[in-house]
C-alpha cells in the first residue's frame, strides 16, 4: 500500500518524557501518527540513518521532513496543525514559555534527578538545590490552572512529561519526596489538573514499569 504524504511517523521510546510530550501534542491536535518504538540501547539502522546528528529519539517524520529535538518538534507541530495552539500568540508570552521549557529540561531535569542520584554532596544537599529550582516553577504556576493558563500549553507538555510522569517516578524509586504538598501547593495542584486531562493520561508511561525503569537509570548514573 502506497504511503500517503500526510503520514506522520514518530520514532520514540516508551519511557522517554521527550517522546511522550510529542505524542501529547499530536493527540491534542488530533493528528494521526504511526508510532515506532525504538530500542535506545541497540539503535536501529533506521534511527541512525534518520537522525545522524544526535542518534536519539524522538524523531518526527512528516511529508518526508525529518525533525529531531523535542522542543523543535513541538514548535513544528504547532505551526503545521493550527488547531489547539500550544505556544502563546503573544511574542513575550511565547518567549517566557520557551525560557521556562529550557529551564525544565536543562536545569530541573539534571539537578532534580541526576544530581540527586549521584548525591555527590549528600542527598539532603541535592534535594535542597533541586527544590530551589522548583520554587521558580511554583511561582510561575501560581494562580493558574496550567502554565499555559486555562488550557495546557507548551510548558505544560514539557514540564508535565518531565516532572510528574518521569522524575516523580524516579523519586518514588529512590524513596524521595521532592515536591511535598506543604512546600509546593501550586505545583501539586497543577499535577492534579494535568491528571484530569484525557490526552495526558493516554500519553504517560505505565507507572510500575516506569518506576522500575527509573531505578535502573539510577543504577547506571551511580555506577558511571
Amino acid at each position: 500500500m502506497a504511503e500517503k504524504e500526510e503520514d506522520v511517523k514518530l520514532l520514540g521510546f516508551w519511557a522517554s518524557p521527550f517522546t511522550r510530550r510529542v505524542e501529547m501534542a499530536l493527540k491534542l491536535k488530533g493528528v494521526p501518527y504511526e508510532y515506532l518504538e525504538q530500542d535506545i540501547v541497540n539503535k536501529s539502522p533506521l534511527l541512525l540513518q534518520i537522525n545522524p546528528v544526535y542518534k536519539k529519539v524522538p524523531v518526527l517524520v512528516h511529508k518526508g521532513n525529518i525533525l529531531s529535538e523535542s522542543h523543535v518538534i513541538l514548535e513544528y507541530i504547532d505551526q503545521i496543525w493550527k488547531n489547539n495552539p500550544i505556544l502563546p500568540q503573544d511574542p513575550y508570552e511565547k518567549a517566557m514559555a520557551l525560557f521556562w521549557a529550557k529551564f525544565v529540561d536543562e536545569q530541573v531535569g539534571p539537578v532534580a534527578f541526576m544530581s540527586v542520584a549521584k548525591a555527590e554532596k549528600g542527598v539532603e544537599v541535592a534535594i535542597k538545590e533541586a527544590q530551589e529550582l522548583f520554587m521558580f516553577l511554583e511561582k510561575e504556576v501560581t494562580g493558574k490552572d496550567f502554565f499555559g493558563g486555562k488550557t495546557i500549553g507548551f510548558l505544560d507538555l514539557v514540564a508535565g512529561s518531565m516532572i510528574p510522569f518521569c522524575l516523580a517516578r524516579g523519586w518514588e524509586g529512590m524513596g524521595i519526596d521532592m515536591i511535598p504538598e506543604e512546600k509546593f501547593p501550586e505545583l501539586n495542584r497543577w499535577i492534579k489538573n494535568l491528571k484530569e486531562i484525557e490526552i495526558v493520561r493516554e500519553c504517560i508511561p505505565p507507572r510500575e514499569e516506569q518506576i522500575e525503569h527509573m531505578k535502573k537509570v539510577v543504577e547506571r548514573i551511580k555506577s558511571a
Binding site: N65, V72, F99
Partner: protein, 227 residues
C-alpha cells in the same frame, strides 16, 4: 515635567566579548532597532542583572518595555517576531524548524565540545579536537552550494554561528591548534569571508586585536598556557 521615554524602550544587558551578547546586537542592528547597551561585569554581577535574570544570572538579557527576556535563542526569536523588518527566521515551517535545530546544535553541541579544547594537552586535546571537527562537518555540509547558512542572505543560524566564525576560529591562534583548517573546511572558510562582507556583522563583532588580548588575559588568569 520631563518627557516620558519612548514606549519602544529597548535595553540590552550584555558583555562586549560574549558571542551570546553580540548575536543579539547583530539582530537588533539588522532590524534597525535602537537600543541602550548596558555593559555588564560578569565577574561582579550587578543587582540589575540579578533582578532581571534571577534564574540564571547571566547575560544577555533583553528588556523591552520593562519586560526582561533571557536566553539568547529565545531573545532572537522574540526580536524576529516583534520587529518584522528583515526577517531572520525563514517563513516555511520546515525551514524555520531546521533553523532552530541547527542553532541549538551550534550552542549545545559545537560550543560545549569546542570549549573543552582549552586547557587540554596531548592525546586528550587531540580527542576533543577530533570531536569538535566531527560536529563542524555538519555545518560544512550545510554550507555546500550556499552563501550563508540561511541561504542567499544572512539568517538566524548565521547569526548564532558567528560563535564559530569569530570566537572558535579566532581562539585557534591562542590555543595553538587549528581546529578548523581550510583544507578540511573550505565551505566554512568561504562562509566566514561572506560574513565579513556584511556591514552589520563587521560592525557588531568584537574588534579582533582587543578580543584576542582579552582571551589571552582570561586564559592567564585561569592559569592556562597560551600559544
Amino acid at each position: 515635567m520631563a518627557e516620558r521615554s519612548n514606549s519602544e524602550e529597548v535595553k540590552l544587558l550584555g558583555m562586549w566579548a560574549s558571542p551570546f551578547s553580540r548575536r543579539i546586537e547583530i539582530a537588533l542592528t539588522l532590524k534597525g532597532v535602537s537600543y541602550e547597551f548596558l555593559e555588564q561585569d560578569i565577574t561582579n554581577k550587578s543587582s540589575l542583572l540579578l533582578q532581571l535574570n534571577p534564574v540564571n544570572k547571566m547575560i544577555p538579557v533583553l528588556v523591552h518595555n520593562g519586560k526582561p527576556i533571557s536566553e539568547s535563542l529565545v531573545i532572537l526569536e522574540y526580536i524576529d517576531e516583534t520587529w518584522r523588518d528583515n526577517p531572520i527566521l525563514p517563513q516555511d515551517p520546515y525551514e524555520r524548524t531546521m533553523a532552530r535545530f541547527w542553532s541549538k546544535f551550534v550552542d549545545e553541541q559545537i560550543y560545549v565540545t569546542a570549549m573543552k579544547v582549552v586547557g587540554k594537552t596531548g592525546k586528550e586535546r587531540d580527542a576533543v579536537v577530533e570531536a569538535t571537527r566531527d560536529l563542524l562537518m555538519f555545518l560544512e555540509k550545510e554550507l555546500v552550494g550556499k552563501d550563508f547558512l540561511g541561504g542567499k542572505s544572512l539568517g538566524f543560524v548565521d547569526i548564532v554561528a558567528t560563535l564559530v566564525a569569530f570566537w572558535l576560529m579566532r581562539t585557534e591562534e591562542i590555543v595553538g591548534v587549528k581546529v578548523v583548517p581550510v583544507e578540511k573546511f573550505p565551505e566554512i572558510h568561504r562562509w566566514v569571508k561572506n560574513l565579513l562582507g556584511n556591514d552589520v556583522i563587521k560592525k557588531c563583532i568584537p574588534p579582533e586585536d582587543e578580543h584576542l588580548k582579552y582571551i589571552r588575559a582570561r586564559m592567564e588568569k585561569l592559569n592556562i598556557k597560551s600559544a
